[in-house]
Assembly symmetry: C3
Homo-oligomer: 157 residues x 3
């Protein structure tokens, strides 16, 4: 006899992205929706978390001209040619690596954007409004990037 | 004989809001607290997620003068009368709808604010500090808006 | 005979912090990692939520010069000596307390930063990239502050 008690499940996936520009908006929505479908979740959540300090995860509209507006806003908030103490290698003492490049502006832009997006799942579907898309935002590319995706919730057996 | 094993539960509700101004802060705290009480959760989380790209969900103090300061800050960051590529209908090709209105500034403001708030629940109560209130922020009103609220956690049977 | 079914668990801790400056970045990473280890979680999430309206929880690099860049960015976005309606005690009517101090700029800075960080746990470890650290950001110190930390997920018995 089969039980109707819902099972709880939790799974984890890493998404790898190769970015090609200094600032770039990579639309992850289709991949996230596929992960939600594959997990077989009925109700639950998915947490999409970047693993880098010069990237962000945002939810907004995928309209190419709008993405250039976003880039201009970020440039105004923290100009690439501004002066950042983080880039003053004559003074800096910690977290220095060989391939270090001046990226104070990238960290400052990341400060203004979220490092993760926590989205709801109901009736087996990712909850997203008509225009909502999930983006990994590259702020110091090009680079290899990784995103941690955790899904959990109630599974209908 | 009754078991003392905690049950896990997950539930979902949509909150509908009709906004009346172009920028507006709608306090959802009482509604969220009622949902937490109704769910009968002892420990868990609630994720309050907007379903729109020109709104946000914030946690801050509900003091009317402060909300005008917030509005001024958002206006300075992305002025309503600024120029946005997103609003250049002579060039734009995608996501065009009949009722399209110039709202590049609304999207840019939304970029700087979070699309969701993930809040903790302990001992049956929403964890909020003395002055913390949860707001849906309208950035392109007036409009009909929806918020997805997912609650899950351990229920004391 | 032992069962291999995973158990689900949910636990909550409050972290208390005494800040010493008006703006301060308190690195909570070691404490969060210890909580994750103590909880014995295999897969799950941790939600780190501030309980104040003039603080934030961010994830970024712990490099002292970079933290001064962040402070300068926040000062540019909402100057401490700017004029805020929230601080106009001749007009203000609500949420007034005896020890009230002018902190409109602190609230405005908090508006631009997240109130919580939701991080993934896999194979028993907090998912953080090489440079990622979790900070409580004090924006109106010095003060006594509290952070609510909720952990939940699948525990390997």
């Amino acid at each position: 006899m089969e039980t109707l008690t819902p099972a709880w499940t939790c799974s984890h996936v890493r998404i790898h992205v190769t970015t090609t520009r200094s600032t770039e908006f990579i639309d992850l929505t289709d991949r996230i929706e596929r992960l939600v479908a594959d997990a077989g979740l009925r109700f639950g959540m998915v947490n999409i978390q970047t693993l880098h300090t010069t990237t962000a995860v945002i939810v907004n509209e995928h309209e190419p001209l709008l993405l250039t507006d976003f880039q201009r806003l970020l440039e105004a908030a923290a100009p690439a040619d501004g002066r950042y103490h983080h880039d003053d290698m004559a003074v800096r003492r910690v977290n220095l690596i060989e391939e270090e490049r001046p990226n104070g502006h990238s960290h400052c832009r990341a400060l203004l954007l979220p490092p993760s997006a926590c989205l709801n799942i109901t009736e087996g579907r990712l909850q997203l409004g008509r225009w909502q898309r999930v983006f990994l935002v590259e702020l110091d590319g090009p680079r290899e990037r990784s995103v941690s995706v955790l899904l959990f919730g109630e599974m209908l057996r």
